[in-house]
Structure formats: C-alpha cells, structure tokens
C-alpha cells in the first residue's frame, strides 16, 4: 500500500467516523446523566431524513440541518418524557423511537417526494461543501506533511470539524464546569443531587436535549455530508455501533474518539478490498469486510474488552426516597 492510498483510507476513516463520533458523544451526555439511550439510531435517522427533505425543498443545507436537529430534539423529548417524567423503561422507550423513526421517515418521504421513500438527490447549497483549510495549495508540495495536510486534514465538510471539536469540548464541559459535575453526579447518584437542592429532572432533560442536538448533527451529516440525500434505513446500525463505541470508550470523550476512529477505519477498509488484498497478499471476502464493524460491536458488547463500569444510576428512573 503506498502512502497516498493510506491517506485515502484514513481520509475515508475520518469521514465515516464522524457520524459515529457525534452519536457516541450524544450517548455519552445522556448516559453520563443516567439515561440509557438505545434510540440514537432512530434520532439520527429522523434527522437524516428531515435534513435532506428540508434541504431539498429550500435548497439550503443550514435550514435543513436545523430542521433535522429539531426532529432529533423532538424524539429526545419523547424519550425524556417517557423515561424521566413518567419513569418508564428506558430501553423500551428507545426501541420504540427506533421503530417509529424507521417507519415514519419512509412514509413521509414517499408522501412528499413519491420517489420510493427517498428524498431527491441533493446538490450545491443543499449539501455541506468540503472546506479547504488555509494554505492548502502552498503546503501541498512539502513531502509527507503536505499530502497529510491537504488530503487528510483539509477538505472535509463543516460537520467533520464540528465532530472533532466536540471531543475536547465534551471533555471540558464534563470535567471542568459546574454543569458537568452535576451531570456526572446525577448519573451516579441522583439522590445526592436531589438532596443538594438541584433538580434531577432538569439536569436529565438538559442531558437528553444535548443528546438530541448531537444526534441531529450526526443525522444531518449522513444525508448531506457523507451522502447526497436520504435513503431508507441509511443509518444502517450506526446508532448501535456508536453505543458499542461508547462502552468501549468507558464513557470517556477522548476514548470515544479512538473507538469511533477504529470503527470508521474498519468501515473504510471494507470499501477498499483491493487495498486489503494488496497488503495481505490474499483475497478477503467483501461480505466479511462489511461485517467487521458489526462483529467488533458484538465482541465489545459481549464484554471481551475488559470491564467497563457504566454510570451507577444508569437506566433507573429516580424515585425520591428517604
């Protein structure tokens, strides 16, 4: 494998890791606050659809993205209502959201556009354009560093950079701010937060809302950054992979980046069987390559990567007790 091919694979890795990363950080906020969210998938899907649909109609990807975030926030609100206000089962609520999103996106897409449950192909301002970072043309010719800067670092869409910036931002919010301290506390022992005179319900809704915002961005990126339009079930299990990455990352932002890049890398090499064959010297079935991220997900969820301790109050509704 030559240097340029490697850069191409890594470049694809970053692009494919971005929706995972945004969804993973979304889950991180929610689960750190004690609300398990299996509905990342559904929220991404709803956002992917509405972003593409609104972008197709208005011709503006920004308006589309806002609409997509709105859709994800609405589903977050439902999840919050069910699991925080009414103290329902968080897994069931999440599964319901996934089903709801899988069905309703296709139905509405068919009713609006009549293209078999898709949105029209997006182009121009209806998609996120890739951004060239400054000095690309000047630096490009420098050996090694030049191509890395030009091919790998520069030339992504806005949401890729947003996703990467979210990692230090999430870390900072969680570990350096009052809000983060309270958020982590409410996921570990809501009674401690309650007796300190802070609203458990308020904190958890805030966390769920942040989760909605980030899954909204993840969905928007899928249909307007990574691809050019919405197709049925286009999240393809990314929400679940993000959950696996979250567990792999032990609910820590920087680890989450690493985990998502690993999954992104597996997805990226699955697209280049020729590179695999060139490197390993024999042919690996495309089906096997496609299955790799999912196999890793199963391996992680089965607990083969060591003990991960989830937030202690995760999954349990808070009931005031003496």
């Amino acid at each position: 494998m030559d240097f340029l091919t490697l850069l191409q694979v890594l470049d694809t890795t970053i692009r494919l890791a971005t929706p995972l990363l945004l969804a993973c950080l979304a889950g991180l906020f929610s689960e750190r606050a004690g609300i398990f969210d299996i509905g990342l998938e559904g929220k991404m899907l709803a956002s992917a659809f509405l972003t593409a649909a609104v972008a197709a109609v208005t011709g503006s990807v920004l308006i589309g993205t806002l609409a997509g975030i709105g859709a994800a926030l609405m589903l977050s609100g439902i999840h919050g209502l069910a699991s925080i206000t009414f103290r329902g089962n968080q897994l069931i609520s999440g599964v319901a959201i996934n089903f709801l999103a899988a069905g309703i996106t296709v139905v509405i897409a068919q009713s609006w556009f009549g293209q078999g449950g898709r949105t029209p192909q997006l182009s121009g301002n209806a998609r996120f354009e890739s951004i060239d970072l400054p000095f690309v043309s000047e630096i490009r010719d420098i050996p090694v560093l030049g191509p890395i800067y030009a091919e790998l670092i520069s030339g992504h869409t806005l949401l890729v950079y947003v996703g990467l910036l979210m990692v230090p931002l999430t870390w900072w919010v969680l570990f350096r701010t009052r809000f983060g301290l309270r958020l982590r506390a409410v996921g570990e022992n809501p009674a401690a937060v309650d007796t300190a005179g802070i609203s458990v319900v308020g904190l958890r809704f805030a966390a769920v809302a942040i989760c909605g915002l980030l899954t909204g961005l993840a969905g928007a990126y899928l249909s307007t950054g990574l691809q050019a339009g919405f197709v049925k079930d286009m999240t393809a299990g990314r929400g679940y992979i993000a959950l696996a990455a979250l567990i792999f990352a032990k609910w820590r932002p920087w680890y989450a980046l690493g985990a998502c890049l690993l999954f992104g890398f597996l997805q990226a090499i699955a697209l280049r069987p020729d590179v695999i064959e060139g490197t390993l010297g024999f042919e690996v079935g495309v089906q096997l390559l496609d299955a790799l991220p999912y196999i890793l997900t199963v391996v992680i969820l089965a607990g083969f990567v060591g003990r991960a301790i989830p937030p202690r109050a995760g999954g349990e509704p808070y009931v005031k007790e003496r």
Binding site: L181, G197, I198, R322
Partner: protein, 533 residues
Amino acid sequence: MTDHTPAIELKGISKAFGPVQANKDISIRVMPGTIHGIIGENGAGKSTLMSILYGFYKADAGEIFINGRLTQIPDSQAAIRAGIGMVFQHFKLVQNFTVLENVVLGAEEGAMLRPSLAKARRQLKQLAAEYELNIDPDARIEDIGVGMQQRVEILKALYRQADILILDEPTGVLTPAEADHLFRILKGLRDQGKTIILITHKLREIMEITDTVSVMRRGEMTATVQTAETSPPELAELMVGRKVLLQVEKAPATPGKTILEVENLRVIDSKGVERLRGIGIEIRAGEILGLAGVAGNGQSELLEVLGGYRKAKGKVRLNGEEIDLTGSKSDARTRRARGIAHVPEDRHHEGLILDFTAWENVAFGYHDKPEFNKGVFMDNAAIKADAAAKMERFDVRPPNPNLAAKNFSGGNQQKIVVAREIERNPDLLLIGQPTRGVDIGAIEFIHEQIVALRDMGKAVLLVSVELDEILSLSDRIAVMFDGQIMGERLPSETDERELGLLMAGITDTDKPHSEAEIEANLAKKRASAAKEA
C-alpha cells in the same frame, strides 16, 4: 442569640401517606446550641418529620419557624438556605467522586469548577481544624470507610453554613470507636453554637449525648423531657406505650454435645478477594454463639456458606457428620433437611418475597414437605392453616395470612421469618441481624424466642452488628475482622471497649489504643482489600 427563641419550632405538623397518618399534629421546640434527641420505634414518624423539615416532603398542615421566623420549606434548596443540613441514614454521596467534589456539588461558586474546588479546599482545612473533621479532600468516596463518609456528609452541611444539623440514625454503621469520635464532633459543634437534632432508636445514645429528648410513638409526639431528668426504662415505656424489659432474662447456659464444628473455612469471592480466611468456630447444644463485627468483615459470607448458598473450602461438621461445601449436596435445601434453619440478615431480599402473601412466605423452603402437598399439587389449605397457627403463636399483627408480606411492619415481617425457621425445630439456628429495623416490642419477643430455642438444647449462631444485642444474648462471643476470628470472649468478662478494639482488628486489647491507631489499622485493611480487587 437569645436563649428563648427556639432554633426550630414546629407547630401542628401533620402528614399522611394515603391512609397512614405518619405525623399527627406534632409540635416541638428545639433550643439553639443544644443536642436534641428524637427517639421512637421504627415507623413512629421520626424520619418523616425530619424529611418535612428538610423539604423532602410537604406537610399537609402545620408551620415551621426557624429562629423565630415563619419559614416555608418547599424543597431541599430552601432548607439549605434556611441553614438546615441533613445527614441521611443512607449517605447521599457520589461514590466515584472525591471528597472535595462531593462537598462542592450543588454549592459551586460559579459555572467553572476550579475556583469552587480551590475555595472548598481552603474551607475544608479550616473546618477540619475547628471540629476534628480530618479528611483527605482528594480521596474517592468508594475508597474510604463509612465513618469517613459520614464525616463528608457533615462537612457538606457545614460547608453550606448549616446552623442546624439533623442526623438520622448516624451510628448504625459505625464501630464503637467511630461512634465515640462522631459524638465528640457533635459535642464540639454544639459548643460552637450549632443546633443538632439526633434521630435514633438507641436509648444509650440518647442518654450519652443529648440535652433534651422528644419521644415519638405512632406518629405522635408523646413527650419532651430533659435528658438529665429521665432514664432508659422511662423512655422505653414512652416509646412503646407499656413497660419493656430492656435486659434479656436468661438462665446460664448448660452446653451439651457439640452441634457445629467449623474448621479452616475459606471463601474467595467473584472478584478474587478472600472473604473468609480460615474461620474456626464451634457451637454446642444449648448455647448461643454471638458473632460480633462491623458489617462487611465476612459475617455475611459465613452465614451464606453455612446456609448453603455460597461454596467454600474447609470443613464443617454438623452433629459430627461432615457437610458437603462444594458438591451437589451443598445447597440450602439439603442443609434444611439436615436440621440447619436460617434467618438471613436481609429479610427483604433473602428472607421474604415481599409481593407474596404471608402464608406463601411461611411455607418457603419447606414447601416440599409432605404435609404441604397432595400428590403433585400443593395443599394450600394446609399451608394456610399452618401459617395462621404460626402467626398466632408469634403474635404477628395483623394475624392475616392472606396479606402480602410487604404490608407488614418490619418487626412483624421479621416475626414471620423467625416463626418459619424456629418452628421447624432445627438443631442449629443461623440468625443474622435478628432485630435490624425492628421495634422494641418485637425485639423483646424475638430475643425471648431465641433464648427459648437455646433452652430446648439447640445451638444458635447469632450474627449482629449491634453490640448490645450480642452482649445481652450470647453465651460466648466471637469477634470477626477482615475474614478472621480475632478472638473469643465471655460476655461476663468483656465490655464494649474491648470488643470494639477486636472489631477494628486489634488483638492486644489490654494496652490503651488511640483512635488514630484504630483508624490506621482500618485504613490498612481497606488498602489491602483494594489491592486484591
């Protein structure tokens, strides 16, 4: 501060949960700079009253005056603003946070964490110097002992500038030495002008450190008296409503043949920590062996092994015959058939199925007996009749076998479990925390039953964290620490101080020991446990 304005005055507080009247028209005055005890049986409404004061519940009627001013306390935030701090029975701490983070939580200075933490660090140093509340601000809660955790709770309240401190059953989880330290802290706080409300069911604590004591019974305040002018029997009578025997009456034991022999018993738990490190005990017929120790030093594991739901290495003989500790015959059913009855430590999780009826619970573990079955079917009529008879003999109230177990009070639930086990006439009774969360009246009754069983020539292994109970019931006392027996004593030849040292793992009990030494020993043990895990 005038001496005549109460720090807290409650007037006509009432609170009902559904049909249950938890507090009935309660009025109380707590003077500033005093330690005011509130004593009462379980379910008397002490905790409800304090939860109303801390804004956890809203009273149906009544008024709260803080320092003479009518104050509304709709939530905990309002209580904190009014200068009230509360140390709950079950600590409200975030386990994987540091001491500092726990203290700061909810009382941060601004949106950024660092300045808040720095300020709290300085304050903690001052508070530590002022009140003997020494603690490492960077230690994680999960790494420190319960005594320390309680200090963190007190520091939390003081950091929020509480003038009034409520402590709910604070000594339940402490060793005698830790309890003494706590009392010194509380006295220090009182001398600095703080007002302290101490909720407890232990008469000894009331007599030891309170200035004034209020007694609650069935949701009502029955009396408020100066501690110096009352006595334990008088308080007990006020609590229960009739005269109570505080001392168990029992004749000297007449031990017969050896019933239970345990040799070199070892247990390693799922995390690889050695919970029992070579336990050896012996119990004879007609004898109660009391096993004292701070919770978590292996007593539970020992009961589980003997009861048949934890595997172990070593030798256990019952009536001279060896018991299977690892194989297919190491289950609870086989143990029961061999004459071992077990009243587990935790009646809610191990002793009863709370949603099932009393009669079903009375049959559990013995449901396969021929008298309860007709062919492949259970003979429910027979079981119910048997349950009704047992409940009658054990004075379970209400005596209704069709009621779900969760609807009985703690004392009556425990009576159901004890009745089930004792009435089977076992050779050996294992009984863990027989009176935890049980009211005085029921304690008296359960103690009588245990002594009666002993007098019938049975062996009893009594595990309890209440030293009073161990001292008054046992014929011999063994003390456990860190999975080992630290020593055996006769109740007539020992006292709380000596047992307390053994409970902290110190065997040369003749020497005087400082608290620092005891704490160091406990810390050493915790560190080694953490390393193993």
